[in-house]
Symmetry: C2
């Protein structure tokens, strides 16, 4: 199984916005027990229900089903644990890489992070001017922490 | 919304078996939090994932999706809370009614209950000879209790 190598940076200013088209993500959890998490997510106009188990060795059980987006919205609005994670994801091509920029909303409003996926840990990356402090591996920026400790309360 | 009127009885002997064809049910839970229960179930060769919210007035949010039976089996075997509810359901037509007889297995082995659905609470029912003690409304026989306190430990 492949291992994702990603670097994550805070985002400075608005210069990255000019050519970026965003997709709205909303996600919430029906179970956050780590042996059996159940996530509801909408990506634009599509809905998904995802069940994940524990990682054992290199294997994590994961089952994802596309569901009607209206069902997903009703579960997000009425059933999921609070708060939800809400963000708009922009993909910006620069320096030979596609960067994913997540601009959070709701209780994490004000947080903007950019991620770039690499082939190798020592691969050189030309950092765009809007890439600020590197926060790769900082647990404060994990989704689980953004639910338990949203950015607006930091 | 309709209200189900059902009477439930313990089952005596094996006389009901002669013409009954059974379907195997297995079910388990990814979440038993009452605000957001998530149930995995197989009925014969079909799999289902069901999300339910709280009952508010006469309305309970419920979302059910058919999923590949292999996925359901893997979730039941590897992810769901223990114990599972396992039973074979038989439908027996007698006295003008269809009776559902559930013969439990696993940690509830030894328990056999029969249910009949009625049009009205005072509808007369011709009780078959194999219908024993009535246990309608007895919470010990609810699914939630059969998970928390399986019959084999009574």
């Amino acid at each position: 199984m492949g291992q994702e190598i990603e670097r994550k940076f805070l985002v400075l200013g608005d210069a990255w916005r000019h050519d970026a088209a965003g997709t709205v993500y909303r996600q919430g959890y029906l179970s956050t027990v780590k042996e059996r998490t159940v996530r509801v997510r909408t990506i634009g106009e599509r809905g998904f229900l995802t069940v994940k188990g524990l990682t054992v060795g290199a294997t994590r059980s994961e089952f994802e089903y596309e569901i009607p987006v209206d069902d997903a919205d009703r579960m997000l609005d009425g059933l999921c644990e609070r708060p939800l994670i809400e963000k708009t994801r922009y993909v910006v091509a620069t320096g030979g890489h596609d960067w994913e920029i997540d601009e959070f909303a709701g209780e994490n409003a004000g947080l903007i992070v950019a991620e770039v996926e690499l082939e190798a840990e020592d691969e050189a990356v030309e950092l765009p001017a809007w890439a600020g402090e590197e926060v790769t591996g900082d647990p404060r920026y994990y989704n689980a922490n953004l639910i338990a400790h949203p950015f607006s309360r930091w």
